[in-house]
Amino acid sequence: MSILQAAGVQKFYGAFCALDGVNLSIDEGEHVSIIGPNGAGKTTLVNVLTGLLSPTAGSVTFKGRDIARLGPLRLSRLGMARSFQLVNIFPQLSVRETIALAAISTLGAGGRIFASLQRSKPVWDTVEGVSALFGFSSKLDQPAKNLSQGDKKLLDVASAFALKPEIILLDEPTSGVSTAEKSAIMQVLVRAAKETGIKAIIQVEHDMDIVFGYSSRIIAVHEGKVLADGSPEMIRSRSDVMAAVVGKL
């Protein structure tokens, strides 16, 4: 069953066409990787799919609802979460507070002006659960700015998971971290997705070992267009796609 669809999506920056008639459909249970060379339009596509950018033309529907101009806040309430390509944290907030923020939103308690946050057991239960999943239990009181680069990326992802979304879009979750950390991050992500009941993962990724190791489906993007869309085996067998996307023949 399709959970997220893009139909004829175009995105122009002035005269430059970043996305040109992109069509895609994400079904429940899928782990979809979006691949392509630098400048192919991958991040623009994720930004359009998550409401950060409005498409110039076309439509994006999530659970059957047009979300093109809905904005991040309402998308998070609908059940969509995302992480970012660059480290995107709250430097002065602790790990505990960062995860708590998402838990508060999930509980619909963000507007409570005189309620005691410290006494909100459901929030701290969620913080405990998510921090245990992502290995942050011993780092809860650390300010996010003091974490390692890998942990900062993971905290960005963990806070998105704490929203209990139905679909999560991860923009290069392993970029800027060591090879050893990449594998560990992916294993944590996959386990967390299973345990939290996330219906679909969309991941922008450059590392082909990760792409072919974890994806159930791959969408190759080149010059703003979908070049190929299929199983890892199908993508691997397409020499034209491999040449265009990763420079291999």
């Binding site: 998070s76 507070e97 508060i104 005691s116 946050l117 939290t196």
Partner: protein, 334 residues
């Protein structure tokens, strides 16, 4: 998400800023000093402290806006003027009950803050600061020019308001300001400090700090940035207006200078002096500023120059203000 297999939390986790006993001692000593002030200082200084408490209340609100949410208002003095002029109009209409005056000032502040806030919160950084400054100067111009309504540059006289529960008939003005009314205002300061502590310790308070740190990420985590900004703008306005009521009582006058940009600058100065990264910094900043200004003005005509040098030194050497020196571990905590 499932938390199966996890033990339920048996203790309430603390925030990242651990609360040492030492951390509670400093505000306790500070409030005790304010409470004892009429007994250990002369009437002149007790009345200065009266004004200091009014500024402290206004600054608690301003710091919710700046220290916690990251929005620096250069026009917050407009709410001081709203409080003062509300007091003047009501006492002129023979409504001298202080509770009614405080509630009316808060109501007027809400009426003013909502439309101005709706416009201003769409902007951040210097644009927000300039917009708030513009509205403050609009109010200043109105107060200055519309003589029949506002008294123009002469302002409006304020008669001594009285709380419902107290009978001041046997006391003179100094006796009232250093006696029952002093402790009434002190109790109000404690109450509003506690209310502000509850706000910054609430889920909304965490959302405000997230907005200050990274607005985009906060939105993706479900924080309603625009609503929260509007709420804090209004709350800050209410605190400002209540502060304005208190400040105007010992002066006995509401005049346009309360809304002037210099007054807004003074409020920002007080925040930096006390330390906007500490919950109690605004209170300390207000009190130190008032007494320092009083002493400087009585000793030199170049007091503004001295203040300018002091501000530069604080920003360069003590960016967390006086509270950053006294209690450097506690930042953005209640």
């Amino acid at each position: 998400m499932t938390t199966a297999g996890l033990e339920p939390s048996t203790s309430i986790p603390r925030s990242s800023q651990s609360r040492s006993k030492f951390g509670y001692v400093i505000p306790a000593v500070g409030f005790s000093l304010i409470a004892a002030f009429p007994f250990i200082a002369g009437p002149h200084y007790a009345i200065l402290m009266f004004s200091g408490m009014g500024f402290a209340i206004a600054l608690l609100g301003l710091n919710l806006l700046f220290g916690f949410t990251g929005l620096l208002s250069f026009g917050h003095a407009m709410f001081l003027a709203i409080g003062a002029y509300t007091t003047a109009y009501l006492t002129a209409a023979k409504i001298g009950n202080l509770e009614i005056i405080l509630l009316t000032a808060a109501g007027v502040a809400i009426l003013v803050a909502v439309p101005i806030g709706l416009l201003c919160i769409r902007y951040v950084r210097i644009y927000f600061s300039m917009l708030t400054l513009a509205f403050s100067m609009l109010l200043y111009s109105f107060l200055y020019k519309f003589y029949p309504i506002t008294g123009g540059d002469e302002g409006l006289r304020i008669k001594m308001p009285r709380p419902a529960l107290f009978d001041f008939s046997s006391l003179d003005t100094v006796g009232i300001l250093t006696g029952p009314l002093y402790y009434y205002v002190f109790a109000l300061l404690l109450l509003l400090t506690y209310a502000m502590w509850r706000i910054v310790s609430s889920p909304l308070g965490l959302g405000l700090r997230a907005i200050r740190e990274n607005q985009q990420k906060a939105e993706y985590l479900g924080v309603n940035v625009q609503r929260n900004r509007l709420v804090v703008f209004v709350v800050a306005g209410v605190y400002g207006a209540i502060g304005g009521v208190i400040i105007s009582i010992p002066v006995g006058l509401a005049d346009p200078s309360l809304a002037y940009w210099v007054q807004s600058g003074n409020l920002v100065f007080m925040l930096l002096l006390g330390g906007y990264t500490n919950f109690f910094g605004p209170i300390l900043g207000a009190v130190v500023f008032i007494f320092f200004q009083d002493q400087l003005m009585s000793h030199t005509e170049y007091w503004r120059l001295t203040f300018g040098i002091l501000l530069a030194l604080i920003v360069i050497f003590f960016p967390n203000g006086l509270m950053g020196i006294i209690d450097p571990r506690r930042r953005w905590s209640a």
